[in-house]
Amino acid sequence: MNIEISNLQFTYPSGVQALFGVSLNIAAGEQVAIVGQNGAGKTTLVKHLNGLLGPTSGYVRIGDWDTKENPVAKLARRVGYVFQNPDEQLFSKNVGTEVAFGPKNLGYPTEKVQDLVKDAMAMTELSDKTDTNPYDLSPTWRKMVAIASIIAMDTPVVIFDEPTTGQDAVNIARIANVIKVLRERGRTVITITHDIDFCAENFERVIAMSQGKVLLDGKANDILGQEEILATTFVDPPQLTRLGKRLGLEQTVRNQAEFLAALKK
């Protein structure tokens, strides 16, 4: 399911313009990270993908659906959105019900709902917490419940808004694993993040935004080494990318394996 964004402009009702003509094509199965300073328009952009916001001008297509001509409830079949703060998303009295809510609401038969819930709970390591009230869990596990409840909707496109904020190393590894499994299943994953090392280690394509426009867009290794341009949108290159540059390595590296391989040469 390809995503096509064409000359998208958006102005909030308050009169503040947040997007100034964004055009992007994201192919089915791509793993894309969106980076950029606070206020660059990242969240405004992704809210257009599931119809939470509609273009002031330009258009957004998810496959053959124009988001302006389809209600949010229908777009939910194609685009899942994991909010930054899980507490804005959770409301059920136990984890199992919470995770089942989405697929049930999409009208899937009971058996399919059960399969989807089971799969999403396994992927997020929640299988032993089916009967727990989400608010008896730590914020870390609540985050995983929020992720599971979107995964269970089985959408071809999944959006994560700042998935690693406030998470410790163990949970960041869990989230990275969820993204890996989605990649193996051919899903499209779009993630907004300030965590540039997480971005470098888990995404093949990086889009840097600044002041409501796309500043850079391309393969992670091509984008993450552009220190001076990234600095204009307050992004530092990943730690190992910076280290590689300082040591004079020829190619841009973005993870441990690439760094060590380049160093040995």
């Binding site: 300073q37 606070n38 206020g39 730590s138 914020p139 870390t140 904020t165 406030g166 998470q167 410790d168 190393a169 163990v170 949970n171 300030h194 540039i196 090392d197 307050f234 992004v235 530092d236 990943p238 730690q239 190992l240 910076r242 280290l243 300082r246 040591l247 441990q256 760094f259 060590l260 160093l263 040995k264």
Partner: protein, 279 residues
């Protein structure tokens, strides 16, 4: 006698079985800059609440052991006296912003109003604090119209304006971009150099290594390890327990196995990594 002295502190929140802090001992000297690290659930925020008097005065629950700051004991003090010595910036600025004020300026003045500071002095103190944290341009905005990173600066400023002896910061830069983080650490370091005692919970270990005098690693409600940043942040004891570790440390550890990293000391910062790999 340490300026902050926690002896054998064990604490349980109401209606819970497992203690959030367990036989915790911590001594901090006046003017020290101490960073606290630990995985989720280690007790970092509870430690902040304890230093700030919210545990046990606001949260109730069972506490044993002693908590002393500047010679006063928490259990024998009132929260309204205690907060004059210790200021806490919450992890989530939403939980701190009063909701009672229409502008950032008024929000920051709120604490001073409550303790009856004269109008002219209040104005000067608010302006000074805002310029220190770089938010003078936000004075007339509503606190709720700001981004997460901007709200964190407002929350920090509204604590600084109170001139506390001890500043406790619970992940003050979690919603900031790298430039914001750098600026806030700069402000905190300046305050520490002027003699303020600073306790900061922070995951960004590269910054800790650059700024902190001491690092305390918490695990399961107790101190697992404390000492100089370099020693604590590169310790083997931190691996596999959910502590955030600098990529420079992990890659050097791997390189050590492969015999590419020669120095005995592992790096935490970029400069240390560059120097070590060049050898």
């Amino acid at each position: 006698m340490a300026f902050i002295n926690l002896q054998n502190v064990t604490y349980k929140y109401p209606l819970t079985d497992a203690p959030a802090l367990q036989n915790l001992n911590l001594q901090v000297n006046e003017g020290e800059f101490v960073a606290v690290i630990g995985p989720n659930g280690a007790g970092k925020s509870t430690l902040c609440y304890t230093l700030a008097g919210f545990v046990p005065h606001f949260f109730k629950g069972e506490i044993t052991g002693t908590v002393e700051v500047a010679g006063n004991e928490s259990s024998k003090s009132n929260l309204h006296e205690w907060v004059l010595n210790v200021g806490l910036a919450f992890q989530n600025p939403f939980n701190q912003i009063s909701g009672a004020k229409y502008t950032v300026f008024e929000e920051i003045a709120f604490g001073l109003e409550n303790i009856g500071v004269p109008r002219e002095e209040m104005k000067t103190r608010v302006e000074d604090a805002m310029s220190m944290t770089g938010i003078s341009n936000l004075a007339d905005r509503s606190p709720y119209s700001l981004s997460g990173g901007q709200q964190q600066r407002v929350a920090l400023t509204s604590i600084l304006v109170m001139h506390p002896k001890v500043l406790v910061l619970d992940e003050p830069t979690s919603q900031m971009d790298p430039i914001g983080t750098r600026e806030v650490f700069g402000v905190i370091r300046t305050l520490a150099e002027k003699g303020m005692t600073v306790i900061i919970v922070e995951h960004k270990v590269e910054w800790i290594a650059k700024f902190a005098d001491k690092v305390v690693a918490l695990h399961n409600g107790s101190v697992l390890l404390e000492g100089k940043p370099q020693e604590v942040l590169t310790s083997d004891l931190l691996t596999d327990k959910g502590f955030g570790i600098s990529r420079y440390t992990s890659v050097a550890r791997k390189a050590q196995e492969l015999n590419i990293w020669k120095p005995s000391q592992l790096p935490v910062t970029l400069d240390e990594a560059v120097e070590g790999f060049k050898r």
